[in-house]
Assembly symmetry: C2
Homo-oligomer: 183 residues x 2
DNA sequence: CTGATAATGAACAATGTGTTCGGTAACGAA
DNA sequence: TTCGTTACCGAACACATTGTTCATTATCAG
């Protein structure tokens, strides 16, 4: 990728992120983004079809890394399928968030977290499906499979939401225990 | 309320609802709404400050009834606090949805259900707080109170979402049992 | 019937969107 | 360094949408 492209793409992402901390997604205009990013209008539209696509690509870039490493955690032959496993993929996710790599936690906490949590949930569901055996229990046998997957995924997302909105005071280990307790 | 006011308000709500079944909330314009509702532009803005307020008021009107009756269910001295109680407030909610009074289920299922579920959740949380004793358990004692309330509320909302998106094939009784099982 | 109130429709400025295009500057490969 | 390619610029553009205004007409409740 051309260095110029990378630079403008970065500048637009940064400007967009900064604006998201101040106002609603729906209130942000392309004009504001390009002004803050200091790029031309035509440049913006050569990179992103619309503002919605900008959001989408930002999420993909952000979540790509965090979920790739989380999935690796589960690959290979090390099947640590205990709820108490100190290095479960879910604990790793919470740790990533705590470290706030790439402002992920920040974006998930801002006014428009619905938007991000939606994309987050999509990726998360794949992880849950891969690790569904962890959650086998008396309950899970009485419920339809996809209801159960949805349930786990939702509980994780809502745990993240609660944690972030409350200032992430708890340690990743503690919040992981909350998650496994409540699921 | 003046009959004229009621009529236009109704017409706008109807037009808005119909449009929501066809396109994203963000893609719907005031122009489309007033055309379909067959009212003047100035009339629209004399009723609703913006499109967002229209959504808000629609939700309030829709959920007001359903939650009022649900809360009554819990008032008085009949405290039926068993999870298996066949007439819990939660069962009543599922029954309301199944009957699809006022197109509530329809709106909660359409493309933009995030918006509606957001408002729905706000009202629901009050109900859960009132009935939190139902959910006392070993788990609930190990988790912070507001984490627990959030958890129950979210699980209910996600159960509704799953049910509606899957065509509401299960009976209200069945889905109530799913809810109490998974919570 | 009558005074009050709501709806109309047309016009309005202001703002935002997405596209176009010729000129300029930075790029990477040879 | 050179050279062909590619991205950026910036200004302009047509177009759509927003939210407001106002004089006029229709409908209301008592």
């Amino acid at each position: 990728m051309d260095r110029r492209q990378r630079k403008t793409r970065e500048a637009i992402f940064d400007a967009f992120t900064e604006l998201l901390s101040k106002k609603d997604y729906s209130q942000i205009t392309v004009g504001e983004i390009i002004e803050k990013a200091d790029v031309g209008r035509a440049t913006f539209y050569s990179h992103f079809e619309t503002k919605d696509f900008l959001l989408k690509e930002l999420c993909e870039e952000l979540f790509c890394h965090i979920f790739d490493t989380a999935n690796e955690q589960n690959s290979g032959h090390r099947h640590i399928f205990s709820c108490d496993a100190p290095d479960s993929a879910f604990l790793h996710l919470f740790q990533h968030l705590k470290r706030n790599d790439n402002n992920i936690a920040f974006l998930l906490s801002c006014r428009n977290n619905e938007l991000f949590l939606g994309y987050f949930k999509k990726d998360l569901k794949l992880l849950v499906e891969n690790q569904i055996e962890i959650f086998e229990s008396r309950k899970s046998n009485l419920l339809p499979q996809d209801f159960w997957v949805n349930h786990i995924t939702s509980v994780f997302v809502e745990t993240v939401r609660w944690w972030i909105n409350n200032g992430m005071k708890e340690s990743p280990e503690k919040i992981t225990s909350y998650f496994f307790l409540s699921v």
